[in-house]
């Protein structure tokens, strides 16, 4: 699973090759990370907690998009539409039928899977650009359906959703949300990592590499593509459901094309073809607007920029995405790997010849 250390290849069994956590040091780091994640809400303030919740929420969708684009190599420009589908399914089920949390979540997942199938069908005939375009078109259709619902049922400003209740205990506290989202994000990451080291994940990587060769190797290309779409869309739709509950509010305004671009940005900035990249990219993309705001306030421009803050964000996202595409196509994860290699190989600059 992980790359062998710089000094050589020391694994003695195939199980070790597949293990998610390889060495004792990694296990220790993982444990330390779990403790830190659990202790975070105790130590952090309200604002930091809100940021953490946003990061966790976004990371689910980002990992889902990474599975599709980074591993299976299928472009999707419709991820905002999918989030909208999940959120609206939740909104409609709640508003029309008063459905509780444990109905709306699987409901959203089912709708996501169905849309994934529809999103995926064009991929059987189309490649590259054409696929990107068809997902873009589906984005507009889903958003339109949401708007139709809003206007037809008189929720023109959006649908208000009560916090989810489990056994009389309502989930409306940021700390409680933090743990729910942490579990959801961790489950998504674990699920993705496990899927990627299974037959399905290997098939995805094969069709990413070259479809004709994958087919020659006996991989059912159509099934692999469809499964990539269905898995990614289901996860994204679940993220949309959580998003709806977290905000307590669903409105088609929230799911603009910019949201899709933000998710695409997480994938590019994080580094294509890496779950770690999706998470690093999420941190970057969620925190960037706040960093800009803080910077503007520090320079003394806070007042003047507050009216056009979205325009500043747009421009900044555009610039950062271009910078990564041109100068660092491997993304943050590429930088991370180089830093790692630098320490591993020190005092050498590169792997000695013959290794």
């Amino acid at each position: 699973m992980s790359a062998p250390p710089a000094s050589g290849y020391f694994r003695t069994s195939y199980e070790r090759d597949d293990a998610l956590v390889d060495t004792r040091a990694q296990r220790l780091w993982l444990a330390a990370f779990c403790v830190a994640a659990a202790a975070f809400p105790v130590l952090a303030g309200a604002f930091a907690l809100e940021l953490a919740n946003q990061v966790l929420l976004t990371s689910i969708g980002a990992v889902a998009l990474m599975l599709l684009t980074g591993y299976a190599g299928q472009i999707s420009l419709g991820h905002a539409g999918l989030l909208a589908a999940g959120a609206f399914t939740t909104g409609v089920l709640f508003k029309e039928f008063g459905a509780p949390f444990w109905v709306t979540l699987p409901g959203s997942a089912l709708v996501g899977a169905a849309i994934g199938l529809v999103f995926g069908l064009p991929s059987l005939r189309l490649r590259g650009l054409y696929l990107a375009v068809s997902t873009l078109a589906l984005h507009f259709l889903v958003i339109h359906a949401g708007q139709e619902y809003e206007t037809r049922r008189g929720h023109s400003t959006g649908v208000v959703i009560d916090p989810p209740e489990i056994g009389g205990w309502a989930l409306n506290d940021p700390t409680a949300w933090y743990f729910v989202l942490l579990v959801a994000a961790a489950a998504t990451v674990l699920f993705s990592l496990n899927l990627l080291r299974s037959k399905t994940g290997r098939a995805w990587r094969a069709i990413h590499g070259r479809e004709a060769v994958a087919e020659a190797l006996g991989i059912d290309v159509k099934a692999a593509k469809l499964s990539a779409f269905v898995v990614s869309c289901t996860l994204t739709s679940i993220a949309g459901c959580l998003f709806a509950y977290y905000r307590g509010f669903v409105s088609s305004e929230a799911f603009s094309l910019f949201l899709t671009i933000q998710y695409v940005a997480t994938v590019i900035i994080g580094g294509i073809g890496s779950v770690l990249g999706a998470i690093l990219g999420t941190f970057f993309v969620v925190l960037l607007p706040y960093a800009i705001e803080a910077l503007a306030a520090a320079v003394g421009l806070g007042e003047r920029l507050s009216a056009v803050v979205f325009a500043v964000n747009y421009a900044a996202f555009g610039l950062v995405m271009i910078a990564f595409l041109v100068f660092e196509p491997q993304g943050l994860v590429g930088i991370w790997r180089r830093v790692q290699a630098w320490f591993l190989l020190w005092p050498f600059k590169q792997k000695p010849a013959g290794k």
Binding site: P122, G128, A137, Y314, V326
Partner: protein, 290 residues
């Protein structure tokens, strides 16, 4: 009758915009998703030159047209040449990033208020009667005539001029064209320049008719289905596609539901992708090689 006029104007808008998509795609196999923003930049360019050259409307128009051409070349020289030879995904993502960068910058520079370049030029948008009951705005009429001229000009340029023939060669087989001494970077830059010029023209004319604001980008995106329905590498296709999409949109809005305006082109697009992904006039084998 009014419906027919509306269809003609909308088709002209879509055709003028979508020929930019086609030019860039046909020559360099890159889909420019920043086209809507570049179009809007053209419109803002006209508004800026109009206030700069007050009292000289013709100078302002000429200046903004040259500006649009230069911006297109600049986009290629600064950004897109780095994406030449990269994967399709990287190039498309670069145009998306460019689009969002432009959108933010334009809002910062020009503000969020709607601007009316026609008034700044000192002209009024007269309403002209056509065949009894129907009416067309002067800007709309210029749009239809302008689109026809642009397509005529492009046709002659691509068929007869030296640069046009080089452009077609680069589109057909870039490697062979480069080995025969055609400077690909120059050709690609020209394609971007022409595409931005025509897109900018569309933006300017729409701005003259209805003013410029941030929603102009949506029109740019809605013109894309027109290009694809006709076939992404065929100018004639873009013209026919624009007619189909515009008719579908105007008729459905009129007889079914005005809210459908934003989705009709994408419905048409999806239908086309399912039935005949390479478009009405596009070349089929191109698609399988992507």
């Amino acid at each position: 009758m009014q419906l027919a006029v509306n269809i003609a104007v909308l088709a002209a808008i879509y055709a003028l915009i979508s020929c930019g998509y086609v030019l860039i795609y046909r020559v360099s196999r890159v889909l420019s998703l920043a086209h809507g923003e570049l179009m809007m930049l053209g419109a803002y360019g006209l508004a800026a030159t109009a206030s700069l050259f007050t009292g000289h409307p013709l100078v302002a128009i000429a200046a903004s047209a040259v500006l649009a051409l230069l911006i297109g070349v600049l986009v290629y020289v600064v950004l897109m040449w780095r994406m030449t030879g990269e994967s399709v995904l990287a190039a498309v993502l670069a145009t998306i990033a460019l689009g969002i960068l432009l959108r933010g910058t334009m809002t910062l520079v020009f503000g969020t208020q709607t601007r009316y370049p026609l008034e700044e030029l000192g002209w009024t948008n007269a309403s002209i009667a056509v065949g009894g009951t129907a009416r067309i705005s002067a800007a709309g009429l210029v749009l239809v005539v302008g689109t026809a001229t642009v397509y005529g000009g492009l046709f002659v340029f691509l068929r007869a001029s030296r640069w046009g023939i080089r452009m077609r060669a680069a589109g057909q087989n870039p490697l062979l064209a480069a080995q025969r001494g055609i400077r690909l970077h120059g050709i690609y830059a020209l394609a971007w320049g022409l595409a931005t010029f025509t897109g900018g023209m569309a933006g300017m004319l729409i701005a003259c008719d209805a003013g410029v604001e941030s929603t102009l980008v949506t029109i740019g995106l809605k013109a894309f289905p027109a290009a694809l329905v006709g076939g992404l590498d065929s100018l004639l296709g873009a013209l026919v596609g624009a007619w189909i999409v515009a008719s579908a949109e105007v008729l459905l809005i009129n007889y079914v539901d005005p809210l459908l305006s934003d989705v009709v082109p994408f419905f048409v697009l999806l239908a086309m992708l399912v039935v005949r992904p390479w478009g009405l006039f596009g070349t089929r084998e191109e698609l399988d090689r992507v």
